[in-house]
Structures are given as structure tokens and as C-alpha cells.
Symmetry: C2
Subunit: 451 residues, 2 copies
Amino acid sequence: MVKISPRTLSGFMELLPAPQQQMERFLQTLRETYSLYGFTPLDTPLVESAEILLAKGGGETEKQIYRFSKGDADLALRFDLTVPLAKYVALHAGELAFPFRRYQIGKVYRGERAQRGRFREFYQADIDVIGDGKLDIANEAEIPAVIYSTFTRLGLERFQIRVNNRKILNGFYAMQGLSEKAGDIMRTVDKLDKIGPEKVRICLLEDVGLSEAQADEILKFIAISGSNAQVLEQLTGYQGRNELFDLGLEELGAVVKYLAAFGVPETHFAVDLTIARGLDYYTGTVYETLMLEHPEIGSICSGGRYDNLAEYYTDRQLPGVGISIGVTRLFYVLQEQKLLNDGLNTAPAEVLVLPMTQDLTAAAEAATFLRAAGIRTQLYTEQKKFKAKMSYADKLGIPFVAFLGEDEIAQGKISLKNMQSGDQQLLTLAEAAALVQAAMADRAAGKLIRS
Amino acid sequence: MVKISPRTLSGFMELLPAPQQQMERFLQTLRETYSLYGFTPLDTPLVESAEILLAKGGGETEKQIYRFSKGDADLALRFDLTVPLAKYVALHAGELAFPFRRYQIGKVYRGERAQRGRFREFYQADIDVIGDGKLDIANEAEIPAVIYSTFTRLGLERFQIRVNNRKILNGFYAMQGLSEKAGDIMRTVDKLDKIGPEKVRICLLEDVGLSEAQADEILKFIAISGSNAQVLEQLTGYQGRNELFDLGLEELGAVVKYLAAFGVPETHFAVDLTIARGLDYYTGTVYETLMLEHPEIGSICSGGRYDNLAEYYTDRQLPGVGISIGVTRLFYVLQEQKLLNDGLNTAPAEVLVLPMTQDLTAAAEAATFLRAAGIRTQLYTEQKKFKAKMSYADKLGIPFVAFLGEDEIAQGKISLKNMQSGDQQLLTLAEAAALVQAAMADRAAGKLIRS
């Protein structure tokens, strides 16, 4: 038979079993943390009507989308989780209670140019709170707590949540009579980290066409820094000149005020006036999250407040606030940087039961006992030499091997070998289960990321 | 702005939050049970090269597949999890340890005619054990234990795993000189439950063209019944006439022999000589699982032993055994039959913290405390009347509401109301956490399906 060469599409992550176990841990940590904050899981189709997904239209999206027909239907793969959320809320609004808090972790598709570290199929992990008509600022204040908990539970220590408010920015530009140029200015200011203030100034003058006075005002504004209290204090100097600015400052004040109550330490949070977020629809607080040792990775969790989630589908005003983690890319980077904790058990089981007799009855009973005790257990079934059996356990990294020969069976015991220490003990099944459970608990306390 | 009417494609399940919580519980139970048996999770792309997915070719698959192009690439959505597994094992064989035991739970796509209860996007939950060249019969003996544990943990009580062996069938037909008609005969015999033995006999005579003697032999064979031991005993009457039959009988004997050791009670297992499974590639043990109160649903978990997983991609002989649960359809049926346990908490949180003051500091602190204790907690943020706040908790079915007014704050306590009993107590946060945790543990002991 002519064989077809097996391959996986480029830009589509497919992990070997051990890293897949780490990825499962990643996703499970996200599910647990998001749930802890009262977000309910959603699972919407990966395929939607193209008309729904492209309601907003626009260049990049339309080019990158996987679109196809089946019968008469014009279909596409979702390219984010926000558009399906907008559709979901517009469609089911009558059956939901608002504020509606949902998380969704799922794959999305973008036909980007293939290159290392870029994915065409990737997981996003989103949370959003959607209000009906109104949504209190307290929701914007709570988001940093979710970000902080998520990364802390994953094991990350050195990271910082950076926050700004679009009303402050838009209000500030309005004060300067620069509202129409605000987009260009923000794109220029966004390069500050990369090119430094001197070059930003030149760009503002030459590319954006500002006067020297205007450019200096902007540089002075974005240079505001210090502790959260100090930044807020400096911003009060601009108060009273623009309503939007004043509202934004009040909102930012509320977000900062509740940080401690929500359990976010000052060390992990900073007001940063240079953050704007590209998307037009953010209207209040915006968030970015940086790994302090790896700023080159860019933001690992971003989002913000928007005023109108589902304007393409309904007249109902649905303001919201949300954040998103690009899981696949982050996982890839953590792997590349060797930041994943290899102390976690990535084997398919805690115990491999190795029968040393032809008849497997006692071995099967031992496996059944251990499984009933909640221990992931594999029964080795093949007729192989002892060495081959042991190298199987080794290759998979299974932490314990339980031998069952004539002697053990006669005594109603097993010989349990700790594969790391080499210790071997003759134990009853109950004793073995207790020993393995204690070791499992130890390892489970470890976190996915080592900081 | 002209609105686009929000809709979800027909044949694509999209659940409201409460049933989605039940579905999550379903999937989590599958993940946990499969893991307990030493299967490692895999996650392969939903999109593959069409050439890979269609390597086997064949009518129905080709018609139902979602196929499309992007740039030069000829792509398709996977229609099962077996073909991606075959590709995965062929591609990564050098990096895997055999026997390779994996589970995969993921969505697959088939463009079937839309009708009630039929899905075009649906979850499959598969386990497979793949050997390199050989695979011991013990693996076939272990599969009923996985099926039994899975449904028992889901809460199902009245179900039966039915098992046959294709070698017994093929050997029996060879004895009768009917190998070439075996396919037609098995399709006819498969209707036994529906049309009864008399009509099966007529079909065998008229449609398949058997002699009366041949038809009688077949009816006598498939009428073999009784306890597992009795069936095996009756089958020994055919021994010594065909090698394949004898091998099949030996295999079936081994499967039955290890049942008890693997913890499967006789009540939930039966040898059934009428089971063949449609697919050609099964070569040994085959499995079906029936809900005894709902035989009309058909098999809820099926599979079997095959000799060559990846023959389209590699010369390597990769025998295996696996089973699959059609999760979306089963979930749909359980919903329709009202078999899902509504005693489980399907709310997004255990506790809703309701602030009765303008300032939210104390309420945010209370939420932070409860979350640190592992309790899913939502802070109610909106400025609404008391009645609206309470009806929010009611609508979501959140079991506990924690009130925080001036009095509570002054005493450093909260008023915790049990929404079901109506009881309300003034408690410290630690007392409240303990009370909620105990109630959570109670509810978590409940199972998804009520039997």
C-alpha cells in the first residue's frame, strides 16, 4: 500500500505526552482560578456563520479568517472568543442574569504567516463581565485580582499588572485640542519602551505633525511615574479642565483604592500612562501584564473596559470588561525559556504494576485497589523481559513501580520501588497506597512555572 | 446601524450556563476516570491536511467532511479522533513508549443532515491502547473496567457492557463455509433485537440466500445465552474445528476471567454473540454499552480491538484496542430524559457577597478571604435595590448570600443566608467559610446522572 506521509500542519501546536500533561495543568489552573472568582464556563461552537463572525468587518480579520462553505452555508472558524460571546449574549440575553460573568477557554484560528512561535490554531482563555445598560467600576477594580491570582497560582512571581484608563488619555488629548490626532499619538507613544523619549519626540514632531509645545506636553504627561499614590497625585494637576479626564481619574482612583481589599500587592501593580491598547473599543480601564524578567515577550494578559459588546447584533447596550490570555503562545514561550517546572509528574500514572507471573489476577486486583484509592495506576500487560519492563517505566517517568511475583502474592503484598530514590519496600496495598498518596500530595503542591 | 440577527448554526450545541456546568462536570469526570487508568491526555489540531484525514477514503466520510482551502492548503476538520491518533502515533512513534495509552476528549465535525438530537459538532471521548507489533489480551480485558468505572462515577447504575469477539464470529462463519457472506449475515443478525428471530431467519433465507440448515445453525449459535460461564461452556462445543474460532474463544475466556480482578461485577457485563460492530477493522474483542432502562438510545460506549491502527501512514504494525463515548449526544439524551441530577450546584459561585454600603472595601475583603479558602465567590457590584440583588442570587441559584452592612462591618462579621433553607446567621469569615465548605462537600458527593 502506498503510504501517506504523516504530518501536522505548520502553525498547529501538537505536543508530546509529557508537555501535554503540563499544558493540561495550565488549563486546569485557569479553569479553577476563573471559577473561584464566580465566572461560569461557556463553550460555543468553533464554527459560526461567516456573516456573524465578520459583522464588524475590517481588514486583517477578513484576510486571516478560515472561511468555507458547506452546502449553502457560508461558514468560518472563530478567530477570537469575543465575537462569539457578543453573539451568545445578544442571542440569549433574556435567559441570562446580569452582570453576566463568563470564562471561556478554547481554540481560535487565524491564518497568519507561518513562523516560529506564531500559531494559526491557539488557545485563548478569556473572562468577561457584561452588564445590562450599566456596569459598576468595581468590576474594573476586581480584574487585577483575577490576573494576580491566575499567574500566582501558575507559579509566576516576577510580573506586573499595568493599568491605565482610556478616559484619562482621551480627556488629556481633548484638553490639548489633539483629539483627532489621538490615535496617531498613542501609536507613537506605544513605542516609548523600544525607542526612548527622544525618538518619540521626533516622531511626534515629524510624523504626527505636532508643535514643539504639544510634543513637550505629551512627553511630560507620559513621564509621570512613581508609586500609584504619586501618579494619582500628579494627575490631579490636570483636573477641572475636561469632564472625561476627571471621570477617568475618578475611575482610576477607585481601581487603585480597592487593590489591597482584592488582595493585589502594590509590588505587582502599576499605573502606566503609556498603555493604550490597540483596539478602538476600549473606553475605560485597560490592562497589560508583563513578565519582569522577560519584557521582550510583551503582554501576557491584556484587556479592558468597553461600552458596547454586541452592537452589531442588538440595540441593547451591553458594557463590559474583560481580559484574555494567549495560552498557546505563552506556553510555547515558557517552554522555550525553560521556565516550566520539570518536578511535576508528567507521566500517565503514579504507579506501574509489574506482574512477574503469567496469571495477571493478583496484579489486576492490585491495580484495582490503587485506582479505588484515587491513584493513577497502569498495569503493565506485555510479556517482555524484566529489563524492557523497567525501561518502559523509566522512559515514561512513572514514579513508582509495584512488583508482584509469587512471593508477594503468597504474602498478599507488593514490592513498591521508588524509581527516583531506588528504595524498595514490601508493603500491603493499603500501606503502598498511603505512601504513594503522600508523595503525590507533595508533588501536586509544586507549581507549573518556576520563578 | 443595521443589526445582524444573532444565531447559532443548527446541529451545533450551545448550552446556557447551568447545563454547561453539568457538561463541564461530565467532561471532568471523564478526564479523571480515564487518567486513573493510566491514560495520558492528548490534544491534536481540529484542522488537518485533507490528504491525511481522507487517507482511507470511503463514501460517507468524504460526503460529510468539512473540507476547505486556505492559500494552497487543502484542509479539513477532523471527523473522529481515531484518524488523528493514527497520524500522531505514526508521526511520533520514535518518541513514544509502547504500549501507548492515550485519552482524547475533543470536538469532531460531520456535516450530517440536520435533525433533532443529531449534531454536526460534537464531543467524542476516546481511549486507546496501542502496541508496537503486539498487544496482550490483558488490555482487552481491562477495557470493561474503564467503561464500568466511567459510568458508575457519572452516576449511572442500570447499564450493561456487552462483549463479543470477532475471531469467534469469523471462525464460526468459516466453519459453516460462509466467510464470504459473513458481512451480510452479521448485518442481518444485528437486527435481531428489533425484528425477532423469525424475521431474521426469513432475511437469512431470502435476502442473504442461505440454506435452511445454514440459517438454523446461525440462529442456534446466536441464541446461545446464560451466564458468562454458561455461554463459554456452550461455545466449547464448537472447539477444534477452526483455529481462529479457538483463538477467539481463548481470548473471550481471558476477558471474562479477569473481570472480577478488574472490579467489574457480573451484573454489568454479558457476553453477547449478536454484537459485531459495523467497522471492518475490528479483529478481536468488541464492546457495546446499553442503558438498561433506555435500550432505544443504542450503545453509549463502543469499540474494540484492531490490528493495524496506522496502515495508511506507516509500515509499522500498530495493533490496539479502544472505546469511544459520543458525549454530546449522550448529554443531549440525558437532558431530554431528565436524567441529570439537578441537586448539583450549577451556579457560577457558592457565595454571593452583597455589600449594603457605598464603599466596597469590606465586601471585597470578605470575597478575597472566601476565595483564599477555595470557595467560588462573587462580589455583587451594582447599585440596585435590595430586591433586585436578591433576585439575582435566586435566578443564578447561588446557594449562599453574605450580607455586609454597617453592623456587620463594625463587628467584623458577615450575615450568611442559606438561600434554600432561609436560615441566616451572623458569623466570622472563618466560621462562614467552614459552613460553606461543608455544604460544598455534601453537594460535590452527588453524581451527574441520577439513576
